[in-house]
Symmetry: C2
Subunit: 399 residues, 2 copies
């Protein structure tokens, strides 16, 4: 039931077109995976997601194990049935949130917004697993590699991920190296637990760690290549800024088995996606498009800034709270086919934001979802026609 | 472009079936009008509204004149274009909010939750109009009958309403009578202003006032009958409780011209609608179905309580926050055809509410909208087949 086929390789970069087959359908890659953190896309129904051409979503094991509990989801028939999404789905291991809640996401780290200490909810990291306090009721939980796989088995997403320790940026090389080997032992235990279950129902991704250190990234890749994972997720710290992120992604990708699908965890900016694609990344995920929508931001291609006769100065979105949209009768983007752009003007969206109306979040979420799906479809077409560099110039003002 | 045709009169009550024709389509009556207070249904898109069989919505002049301003809406092509709703629409005069913000809605008053004083935002009621402070920026505004019509002309809804003074329940008969005659003078000025505009584009409703006093209700009805309004809205205080509301509606309806469509302002409980229909009410509006949804309440027919083997004790909705829905795999109502009942279980909706997910509001709003449209469709069918009393027993546990 699972397969990853590379349909086309770009002649001048590592970019490729793939078909990732799951029991719930095929994902054409490169693809963007939307975050339904607590088994719901914030501001959109499953019908909205489908209509706006979404291929795949993910949900977070950490949140679901605390509320409603994976046992409840399993009893209700698994995540697909529970949330009314019949397409491909991924869950993460739960580790990322345990380690990152409190010091910020990978994207925030890359943007230099990282904190400097371990989150208070994380109590202990031991050989056995990670002990943490529930953010809901303060109860202690121990997440082990085996437990993570069991929980993800109960949730029933198509693609699941091994437990790893996600190190923040600021730790030194000695810590990163110790952590790398701990993650490797956890990966072996995750795989062993996974192999106890039925085959063909879910597929397991390994994670490559190693922080910003080339030799550790090489060790991590060789390790993950050597085990029979279906896919690889690029995890761990990607550095302190965008420039370092590019270096780290390149060093992480270089030694990876190219026959497996590769997921880049937690990255979703337009420029990051264009860069990742040229490095051979097949899937991306990030809360950015939907979170941005809830704050009044609408993702737009460069043509919109040209129409506005405004320098985007590196911005990838319009802020519809801006008063100069008050009487603008145009849609967010005249070239966009989403339900929101077919229905609402910038003036109306500006009014909804000023008035604090719920519909603002829904309308902008729908637009940003469509935007990401459209962007990735254009990227796939550009890979096929070897015009990725030209395509990129339509979506971002500088590399 | 406007017409109200009475297609069928019930033999044993004042219930009737009508067709209310507007430039934006026909409303089959009795019908429920959903409140898009600030030019948006909270939690649903225009597409959601259409899919769930909504015939007509309303928007509030008071809110729109303050934000974004009727001039902005007019520049953007009027309310229909602005909010992407191409069906029939009503706006109120703006008076209701000026007079009621601060002492609660008609429905709250009937439920005994009314306050005892005029809202602070209302500064003065004079012959000229009502002076109030904007709840947004504290600026002073004077709303006159002429201004209300001008604003509603700019907004461009199909059905518009004269300005009246909406008296709270607790005022005495002397006040109610003085207020009645003021409202009559305002009605004449509203009509005069309305007649200056183009004909056939919008239709004007008069309002019948008179509080809980039979003689005043009669004077009000005779006055409103005597002027060439298209329809009549039943306004003013409907009393202190449900029993008194029934009395007041009956005394208000009795002397009214039966050839005009009659709207009952601000009432939307199931039992109130059944009662209103038997008194000849053609349209109802209330924030209740959509507000209830945002608080986790799903409107249900009696069959759902029977399936749960529970005494509804007069309740008309399920509270999905209730822990006993935690592992309930059934939809809210197996007999309901709404998108939510076709997609989500009670367990999932309970989870969304517990997790504070936006989707809970959207999903329950969609259900409650469908429920109201379905209820009114069943009521129309029951009028036609003279089975209103039997139909009522399927929807409410006591009269």
């Amino acid at each position: 039931m699972f397969n990853f086929e590379i349909c086309f390789k770009a002649p001048s970069s590592k970019a490729r077109l793939g078909r990732l087959t799951t029991p719930h359908g095929v994902v054409e890659t490169p693809a963007f995976i939307f975050c339904a953190t607590k088994a719901a896309i914030k501001g959109a129904t499953p019908q909205d997601m489908k209509r706006e051409k979404t291929q795949i979503i993910l949900s977070n094991t950490y949140h679901l194990m605390l509320q409603p509990g994976s046992d409840v989801v399993a009893k209700m028939g698994g995540l697909h049935t529970f949330m009314g999404w019949d397409g491909p789905m991924l869950t993460d291991s739960g580790g990322f949130q345990i380690f990152s809640l409190g010091h910020g996401s990978v994207a925030e780290e890359v943007k230099g917004k990282r904190g400097t200490s371990r989150p208070k909810s994380l109590l202990k990291i031991q050989e056995e697993g990670a002990t943490f306090k529930s953010y809901i009721d303060g109860k202690m939980h121990l997440l082990t590699p085996e437990k993570s796989i069991q929980v993800q088995r109960g949730l029933g997403a198509d693609l699941i991920v091994v437990l790893d320790e996600c190190t923040p940026f600021h730790v030194d090389k000695a810590y990163t190296e110790r952590s790398l080997y701990l993650s490797h032992r956890w990966a072996e235990r995750s795989l062993k637990e996974f192999q106890k279950g039925p085959s063909g129902v879910q597929a397991l991704y390994g994670i490559t760690q190693g922080g910003v250190y080339p030799d550790l990234r090489k060790i991590a890749a060789e390790f993950v290549n050597s085990l029979p994972f279906f896919g690889t997720a690029v995890g761990g710290s990607l550095g302190a800024d965008k420039a370092q992120m590019k270096e780290v992604v390149e060093m992480a990708m270089e030694p990876l088995d190219p026959s497996r699908p590769v997921h880049l965890l937690g990255i979703g900016g337009i420029s990051d996606i264009f860069y990742g694609v040229t490095q051979g990344i097949d899937t991306f995920d990030c809360v950015h498009p939907t979170r941005l929508a809830r704050h009044g931001g609408a993702l737009v291609p460069l043509s919109v800034w040209e129409e506005l006769a405004e320098d985007p100065k590196g911005r990838e979105h319009l802020n519809l709270r801006n008063a100069h949209f008050r009487e603008d009768p145009r849609p967010i983007d005249a070239s966009c086919g989403c339900q929101t752009c077919q229905t609402f003007s910038r003036s109306y969206l500006h009014h909804l934001l000023k008035a604090g109306e719920l519909l603002a979040m829904t309308a902008l979420t729908i637009h940003n979802i469509h935007f990401m799906n459209r962007l990735l479809a254009r990227i796939r077409l550009a890979i096929e026609t070897n015009t990725l560099a030209e395509e990129q110039k339509k979506w971002m003002s500088y590399p």
